[in-house]
Structure formats: C-alpha cells, structure tokens
Amino acid sequence: MWKSSIETTVAFDGGAEQGSSLEQIQAEVTESYKSLAQCLLRYLLCLTRDFDRAQEAVQEVFLRYYEYRLKGGEVPDGRGWFYRVARNYVVDQTRTYRSDRHVSLNEVLLKADDHDCPHEALARTETLDLLFQVLSARELECLELRVEGFKYKEIAEILGIEPGTVGAILAQGLKKMRALRVKIVEESGRCKIP
C-alpha cells in the first residue's frame, strides 16, 4: 500500500556521543539535512504557506540542531524532534511576523524548475494553490505528517493535540480535498495527474 512507498528513511542515529569531534557533529548535521530537509520544507510550507519563510525555518532548525549537539545535547526521538522545533520556531515567528504579501505557490513553481514537464508542474501547482486556500493550516499539517509516515501519536505530539483529534482533522482535510478534486474534474477535466 501507499504507506510502504512513502516511508522516509532517515539517516539519523539519534545523536552522537558526548564529546564528538566538531567534524563528526558537522557531518551528522549535514547528513540529517540531506535526509530530512525536503520533508521539513514541505511541512513548513503547509504551515507558513510561504516558500521563503519555510526555507528560512528549515535553515534555522538545522542550525539549532547543530548548536544543541555542540552543547552535548542528544535527540532521543529522531525526526520528531526536528518537526517539533520547526513548528515551535514558526509559531514563535508568526507572533512577531506580519505577512504583508500573499505568496502564491506559483512562485514555488518558478523555483521548482527541475520538473520534466512544465505544463504538468503548472497544473499541479495551481491545484496545490487551491488546496492551500481550501484547507486549514492544521489540516494541511496533519496530512503532510501522515504522508511522511508519522503515526497518530507522533503527529499529536508534534502538534500538541490529542491523538484522537488527529483522525478527525485528517478526515476533515480529506473530505475537503475530495470535494476540491470533484470540483476541478467537473470544471475543467483537469484530473490527469500521473
């Protein structure tokens, strides 16, 4: 099923021993960045709906991880830590950050210029843009975390909610998304997503 195909392999051993050399820690952070940064970026995009802010937050998360490891800290629960730190950072930022522009996801497409077919990518980006308008940030977060292979309990820990609520949020998000799909199919027949 889909679960096995989307599970992310994290090259992350839960933290090096205290007293690791600087080079070891840097290599560890770089390795974690390579395996987690894209997933984190997608998650943060759901949260911020702003590509640049999401990218900046990813950067900050790994710098914090680096500093944390330099001080001898260890991360017991692997990638969940990164998602929690990322979320906390964005939430803190949102309190002080006042967005003065609506960033359309078409800007993301401009950055994502490595797709084989630009028309296909454009269609997807437009659909994603619509989806971001229809779904709430929490629904998007839940969907993205689930797609990344997190269990309900882990999602609940990251979002700071009850595990039982995760199912309800997911169901709500999926319902809205299906309605959007039907609408898109009815309006323009743009349903062919390979």
Partner: protein, 184 residues
C-alpha cells in the same frame, strides 16, 4: 430505490449496522484503531460496499496529496540551503558562548583532592574536609580557583583569617601539584 443504510440495518446485527464515522474509517485505514473497534469496522466493511469504497478512496486521496506536494521538491533550493548551512557552521562557532563546564583535564584530579583533604583534616577534621572538597568538586572548581572556594567555605567553620591562611596553603599545594603533573 431502497435506502442502503436501512438495508444494512435490517441485515446485520447491532454494531455492524452503523456506518463508522469518517474519522474512524480514516483511522481504520491507517491502522490506528484499537483491536476491538477495528474488528467491528472490518466486519462492517465486509458487508457495506459504500464504506469499502470510501476506505479505498482514503488511500487514493492521500496519494493525490503526496503527488501535489511533490511539486515543491526543489533540489536546487536544498543544495543552496546546505551550502549556506555549512557557512553558518563557522560563524556560529565564533559566536558560541564559552562552555560553563571546564575542560575535563582542568578538573580536580583525585591525587590533588587527596592531598588537600589531608591538609584540611588537621584544621576541621576528616568529615568536614571531605564535605568541603565534595562541595568544591560539585561546583566544578579548577586547581586555579579551588583556594578561593575553600576560603569561602571554611570561613564559616574557622573564621575568615584562619580560612585565608588555609587557602594560601592549599594554593601553594595546588601550584606544586599542577606544576608537577603538568596540569594547565
């Protein structure tokens, strides 16, 4: 046309009759339900084509979402981020605060503690000497600031002047030990 819900109500026993809530169905598909509820939903799905179709659509919807989100996978942005991160490594080290704990080699060695304890015993007895040094060790004293710590602690026991005299002796002892052992 016959209402499918009514048909289910007539055909199946209590518990299997009811359609599960959409959140329950989603949790079932994700394998997040407790065994008893899972069995109940499973039995319901065996008989209810409507819910079975709904359950299959959940997987499809999540795959759809995954494909849509794949559009933001920008390897160029990631590579750029990685190079910026590596640049930041250097700058953050320069800005990093001085560690609170001294390096392990500058901590008090057991040989030094033993000799100081013998010195202190003559003034305050073995138990008090032991306590004073344990406290100094807990405060991460180094050979350089040990005499100051001892002076402060012993002031309460033997008076400030006597404590200052003991501290001077400890200082000399530390100096001798440090130069002998090559501790910085």
């Amino acid at each position: 046309m016959q209402n499918p819900l009514r048909r289910i109500t007539l055909l199946f026993p209590e518990g299997v009759r009811r359609h599960p809530a959409s959140a329950t169905l989603v949790a079932y598909v994700h394998g997040e339900l407790p065994p008893s509820v899972r069995a109940q939903v499973s039995r319901h799905l065996q008989h209810c084509k409507c819910c079975e179709k709904e359950a299959l659509a959940i997987d499809d919807d999540l795959l759809y979402f995954k494909r849509l989100m794949a559009v933001v996978e920008t390897s160029a942005a990631m590579e750029d981020g990685l190079s910026r991160l590596e640049q930041c490594f250097e700058s953050r080290i320069a800005e990093a605060p001085v560690p609170i704990l001294p390096k392990p080699e500058t901590r008090l060695t057991s040989a030094l503690l033993k000799s100081i304890q013998n010195e202190l015993m003559t003034y305050v007895g073995s138990r008090a000497a032991e306590r004073i040094l344990a406290r100094a060790d807990r405060s991460f004293c180094t050979p350089q600031n040990l005499s100051k710590q001892i002076e402060l602690t012993m002031g309460g026991f033997i008076g400030s002047r006597a404590a200052a005299a003991v501290a001077r002796r400890v200082d000399a002892l530390c100096g001798a030990m440090v130069s002998h052992q090559g501790i910085p």
